[in-house]
C-alpha cells in the first residue's frame, strides 16, 4: 500500500481508538460512581455510552469510505482516464480494479478483495439512506479490508 493510503487509514483508526478509549474510561468511572465509589466524574448512563461508541464507529467508518472513494478517483485520474459523469462508488471500485489489473501487476486485485469493498459500499448506502439494523464492521476490520484493496495501488 502506498504511504498515503496507509498513513490516512492508520490515522483514522488511531483517532477512532482514542475516542473509544475515552468513552470506555468514562463508562468504567460511571460504574464506580453508580456503585457509590467516588470517581470525581459525573455519571453517564451506560446506554448513552454504548450508543456513543456505536455512533463513533459509524462516523469513522463513513470517513474511511469517503477517503477511499477519493483515493480511487485520484487513481483513475492518474491513469489519464476521463470519466464524463461523476462516477458512483460502485463504478469506481470496478474501474480501479480493472485498470490496475490491466497494468499486469505482480499481485492483481482479486475478486474477493473487491467483493469485500463492495459489501462496505452496500453498508454505507444502507446507512446513508436511513435503513435501521444496518451497521458497519468495526473500524479496525474496515482498515484491513480497504488496506487489502489499496495494497498494490501506487
Amino acid at each position: 500500500m502506498s504511504d498515503a493510503h496507509k498513513n490516512e487509514f492508520e490515522r483514522i483508526k488511531r483517532e477512532h481508538d482514542t475516542v473509544v478509549s475515552l468513552l470506555s474510561f468514562h463508562a468504567k468511572k460511571s460504574q464506580k460512581a453508580k456503585k457509590g465509589q467516588f470517581s470525581g466524574l459525573p455519571f453517564f448512563a451506560p446506554d448513552i455510552i454504548q450508543a456513543a461508541v456505536a455512533t463513533a464507529n459509524d462516523a469513522y467508518a463513513l470517513l474511511l469510505m469517503a477517503r477511499s472513494e477519493g483515493f480511487m478517483r485520484t487513481y483513475i485520474d492518474s491513469q489519464g482516464i476521463l470519466l464524463r459523469v461523476e462516477p458512483t462508488l460502485n463504478v469506481l471500485i470496478d474501474k480501479c480494479r480493472k485498470e490496475f489489473n490491466n497494468t499486469d501487476p505482480m499481485i492483481p486485485i482479486r475478486p474477493n478483495i473487491a467483493q469485500d469493498v463492495h459489501d462496505l459500499r452496500v453498508q454505507r448506502n444502507a446507512y446513508a439512506h436511513g435503513y435501521g439494523s444496518s451497521v458497519f464492521p468495526p473500524v479496525a476490520r474496515m482498515v484491513i479490508i480497504l488496506g487489502k484493496f489499496f495494497d498494490q495501488l501506487p
Partner: protein, 128 residues
Amino acid sequence: MVVLPNWLDQLPTVDFTPEKELLTELEKWAIENNWNVSDGSSLPFELRQRTDVLLNKPQHEQTIRLAVLRKSRNGVGVIRVDSSNLRTVELLYQRRQPHWRVEAGGVRVEDDLRNRGWSWLINLMFQP
C-alpha cells in the same frame, strides 16, 4: 424462532439463509441459558437502529446486541456482536466449508464457532 429480522426477507436477490440459521441456533441456546431474547425495541433509538436481536440478563446487567450486516449478492455473511461492556466480535460466514469464523478487530479468534460453542463466545465477551 423468537425474533426474525424481517428485512432479511425483503432483499430478494441476497440470500441470508446462513444468518437466519445462526440466529435461530443462538436464540435457542439463549433461551435455554436464561437469557431474555427480543428484537431490541426496548433500546434507546441509536442502539435500536443497529440491533436485530437483543439478549439480556437483567440480574447481571449484561446485554448482547446482534446485527446482521448488509451484503451484496455474493458478499460475505457477517454478524456483528456487541456486548454491554463495549466489546465487539464478528462472526463471518465461510461459504466453502461452511462454518462461522470468529474474529475480533479483524484478528481470527476461532476458525469455527461450532468448535467452541455459544457459551464460550458469551464468556469471551464478558470475561475480565
